[in-house]
Symmetry: C2
Subunit: 242 residues, 2 copies
C-alpha cells in the first residue's frame, strides 16, 4: 500500500464559509485536487474552493459523459457511468501510487448521494482513505429557510424526486418530515403528491440555498414550472411548521 492518502472532502452546501476547518486545512495542503463537472461547466465543487488551493496543485477535472440526456433507467447509463468512474479511479490510483495525497472534492456530504462514493468504492480497498463529512445541502437549505425540521419522535425521510408517483406518495405517508431532492422537472409531480399526503401547505421550496441567487418561498407560492438542479423541497414536521 502506498503511503499517500485519498481525502474525500465534503465541502458543504455552497457557501465557502460552510466548509469545515478540517476540509479547509487538507485542501490548502493537497498536491492533487480532483472534482466532477458537467459538460461545459466549471464544476460546482470546484467553484466552492476558488482561491483556496495550494499553489501549483494539479487539478483533475472529471467531466460526466452525460447528465440528463440519458435516463437512469436506460441500461447504457449504468454501463457508461461505470466506465467513466473506472477511468477516474485509474487516474487517482496513479497519483496515489506516486505518493501524492489527493483531495477529491464533493459538494455537501460525500456519502449522501455523492458521486465521490463511486470512486471511494473503487479505491478504498487498496489505498488509505479519509472521508471528511460536510454540511449537507439540505441542512444549508433548512437553516436558511428558518425551518426546524424534526422535534421529538419525528421521522425524517429523504426522497429523490425521481421516484414514481405511487412510491413517492407511499414513502411520504410514512414520515413526519421530508426532504425531496433532485427536484428538476419533477416539481408538478411533487406538488400533487404532497397535496395528497396533506403536506403541501407546510412545504417550502429552496433554490441555491446558501449561495448567490438563493431563492426561498412557500411551495404553494411557487409556479409549477421546472426547477434548476440545486433546488429542493422541504417539509418540516408539524411542530416546525410556519
Amino acid at each position: 500500500m502506498s503511503a499517500a492518502k485519498l481525502f474525500v472532502l465534503g465541502l458543504g452546501p455552497g457557501d465557502p464559509e460552510l466548509m469545515t476547518v478540517k476540509a479547509a486545512r487538507i485542501l490548502a495542503a493537497a498536491p492533487v485536487v480532483a472534482f466532477f463537472a458537467k459538460r461545459g461547466r466549471a464544476g460546482h465543487a470546484r467553484r466552492i474552493v476558488d482561491g483556496q488551493l495550494r499553489e501549483g496543485a494539479e487539478e483533475l477535472r472529471f467531466e460526466y459523459p452525460f447528465t440528463t440526456e440519458l435516463s437512469v433507467e436506460n441500461p447504457r447509463y449504468l454501463a457508461e457511468m461505470g466506465d467513466f468512474y473506472d477511468g477516474c479511479a485509474v487516474q487517482l490510483a496513479a497519483r496515489l501510487q506516486a505518493g501524492q495525497d489527493i483531495a477529491l472534492l464533493c459538494e455537501g456530504d460525500p456519502f449522501l448521494y455523492g458521486s465521490a462514493m463511486y470512486l471511494f468504492d473503487r479505491l478504498s480497498a487498496d489505498y488509505a482513505a479519509d472521508v471528511v463529512p460536510g454540511v449537507t445541502g439540505m441542512s444549508g437549505c433548512w437553516s436558511r429557510a428558518g425551518l426546524p425540521m424534526t422535534h421529538g419522535d419525528d421521522v425524517l425521510s429523504i426522497l429523490p424526486a425521481t421516484l414514481d408517483e405511487a412510491r413517492l406518495l407511499e414513502r411520504l405517508k410514512s414520515c413526519d418530515a421530508a426532504v425531496v431532492m433532485k427536484v428538476g422537472r419533477h416539481l408538478p409531480k411533487i406538488s400533487r403528491v404532497l397535496r395528497e399526503a396533506g403536506m403541501f401547505e407546510r412545504a417550502f421550496y429552496v433554490e441555491r440555498g446558501t449561495m448567490e441567487g438563493e431563492f426561498i418561498t412557500r411551495l404553494s407560492a411557487r409556479e409549477d414550472g421546472p426547477a434548476p438542479y440545486f433546488s429542493m423541497v422541504l417539509v418540516p414536521g408539524r411542530r416546525g411548521a410556519r
Copy 2:
C-alpha cells in the same frame, strides 16, 4: 428590534475540526456563549469549543431539569421542559436587548432534533437570528464507518429509536437506507426490528463517532446491552453494503 443577533451555531459531530469555518469565526467573536448541559455534566457542545471562546465571554449554562428520569409521554415532561425553555429564552432576550450578540451552541446540526430549536422558536420573531448549519452526527458516523449510505434512487429515513416496535418496523420497510438515533436502552428492540425488515446483516453500530473513545462495529457483532447516548445504528442502502 435590537441590533444584536442570535447565532445558532451547529458545531458538528464532535471532532472540533469538523466545525465550519463560519461557526469558528462567529464563536471567536461572541461576547455571550450559551449552551445546554445535563445535570452534573460539562455539556457536550461546550466541550467541542474548549479553548475557542473569546477572552472574557459570558457563558450561560442551561442545565436540563431532567434527562431520562421522566418519560416523554409523561404530561409533566412537556410542561416542565416548556418552562425550562421559557426561562432560557428570557436570559437570551435580556442579552440581545442589551445589544450583545449570542452564540447558542448546538452539537450536530441545529435543526435536526436540536434543543436550540426550542429557543429559536421563542426568539426568532423578535430578534435577528442566523442559523449556521453544522455537520450532522450521522454524517460524522457514516464517514468514519466508511459506509456510503445512498446511491441513485435510495430513500433514507431517520428514525428515533423511541418509536414503538410496530411503527419502527413499518417505517423501516418503506426505506432503503436508515439511521436509527437515540439508541440508548432500545438496542434489543432495534435489532429485532432490523432482523424482521431484512436489514440486520448490513447494519453498523457507531458509538462516539469522530470523538475520543470512538467504537464502530457491525451490529451483528455487538452485544445486545444498552448503548450510551452518543450512539447510532446505520443501515446503508443495498449498494453501499459491505
